[in-house]
Amino acid sequence: MPMEKKIRVLIAKPGLDSHDRGAKVVARALRDAGMEVIYTGLRQTPEQIAETALQEDVDVVGLSILSGAHKTLFPKIMTLLKKKGLEDVMVFAGGIIPEEDVPELKRIGIKEIFGPGTPTERIVQYVLSNISERS
């Protein structure tokens, strides 16, 4: 009997943030929308994030960051994802990211950036309507 394909999402927290409430809220919202959400906890290195995305064969990576280190960490993550052949994975980001940094982040391949207080429904909707069809 055919099994239903599920959207798999990695919610990752790069950098040295000391709490992950926001990331968990997003993770739960995506789960409640029927997705399989892998959560890996605080303080993930770019290598851990890219390698987890690979092993878990996710369709989507959501990066959550509060510490302000996105300018150094996000490009590293994007480079590693590419290096591992994961350029078809959709990456979005959330947390505290100044408006002026957004264009550069989009240029390196981050599809969307959600500021603090974004309703989780918006993130869910975004993922559902932007996910590319994979097997």
Partner: protein, 318 residues
């Protein structure tokens, strides 16, 4: 990247390509027809890995212990694959896969491959695709494959169908040991672990379990040991890994033949059942006779069981 076809996946698995292993496990989860071709191709290369199952109630420390077990195997120069299963919500179909949090330190070690897996409402504490994920990791050359079952504890005993050595975990203060026996979970144990041995009453919990185990007594000469661990610090883990090795020795020197035969028989029967169900689902529904009988059941001209007999006769199965 264009999707890899089955041949590419098989080649990738056999050369240990991690990306291909990951994609292959997704195929096992999502696409039964391709999965069958894939497993058929790698099956001759399976059977090398020792498959260890970890089960026990939620929060008993399975993932924390898994991490320490993997480290211990790495110290012994063994490569390790992990399948960590968490439940799918029956209401939303979604799942929160959090076992990996405790094993993240190992992500990046090339000798370790960890995959989280949702049950997708398969009952028994693992997912339907767990067995094939284990085979993929086995064929990819992992020396040990560790399966963390869902921590529910009730009748989560499907793990015996995939694991050579089943480690059942308990912790002091988690509840009634007699309850555990009733649920059948203790009968599947090859090794018993009392985790959180840093807590009060750990010794008493171990003695209680030892007492209960003596009542049962597993057939075939393997005496189920009761070990104590502190997964947080790794205490007792080297002894546990030694015991797993001893159990493997026991299985390989003949103690496991019967169990292996039973496992394969069960799988064959299940495969036949699945195929019949598939045939019914796709084939039968299209038949005129099926529609005709449906109507008759609604009109109370025939009961469902007798209608099923009639259909089976028509298919030549009775």
């Amino acid at each position: 990247m264009p999707l890899a076809n089955v041949e590419e996946l098989v080649k990738g698995i056999l050369t240990g390509d991690r990306r291909m292993i990951a994609r292959a496990i997704s195929v096992a989860e999502n696409n039964p027809l391709e999965a069958q071709r894939l497993i058929a191709a790698v099956y001759p290369r399976t059977g090398r890995a020792h498959v260890v199952g970890l089960t026990g109630a939620g929060g008993v420390g399975k993932s924390t212990l898994a991490e320490k077990i993997i480290h211990e195997y790495r110290r012994r120069d063994k490569t390790v694959g992990v399948v960590a299963v968490d439940p799918t919500s029956p209401f939303t179909g979604g799942a929160f896969l959090g076992d990996r949090i405790r094993m993240q330190e190992l992500t990046g070690d090339e000798g370790v491959f960890i995959r989280s897996m949702a049950t997708r409402n398969y009952v028994g504490g693992i997912a339907k695709a767990t067995r094939n994920a284990v085979r993929i990791l086995d064929a990819a050359g992992k020396d040990v494959v560790l399966v963390e079952a869902v921590g529910a504890g009730q009748s989560e005993v499907e793990i015996v169908k995939v694991a050579h050595t089943v480690v059942v975990m308990h912790a002091p203060g988690l509840g009634n040991e007699i309850q555990a026996i009733k649920a059948g979970i203790m009968e599947i144990a090859d090794i018993f672990v009392v985790n959180k041995a840093d807590r009060e009453n750990a010794a008493k919990t171990a003695t209680d379990i030892q007492g209960i185990l003596q009542l049962g007594g597993k057939e075939g000469g393997w005496k189920v040991p009761v070990l104590k661990t502190i997964a947080l610090t790794g205490e007792g883990v080297a002894e546990l890994v030694d015991k797993i090795g001893e159990h493997r020795q026991f299985l390989q020197s003949g103690g496991g033949t019967e169990r292996e035969a039973m496992r394969i028989e069960t799988e064959l029967v299940e495969a036949v059942k699945d195929k019949v169900a598939e045939a019914v689902f796709f084939g039968l529904r299209k038949r005129e006779k099926f529609q005709e009988l449906l109507k008759k059941i609604i009109d109370r001209e025939i009961d469902p069981a007798s209608a099923a007999d009639e259909l089976l006769r028509k298919m030549g199965i009775d």
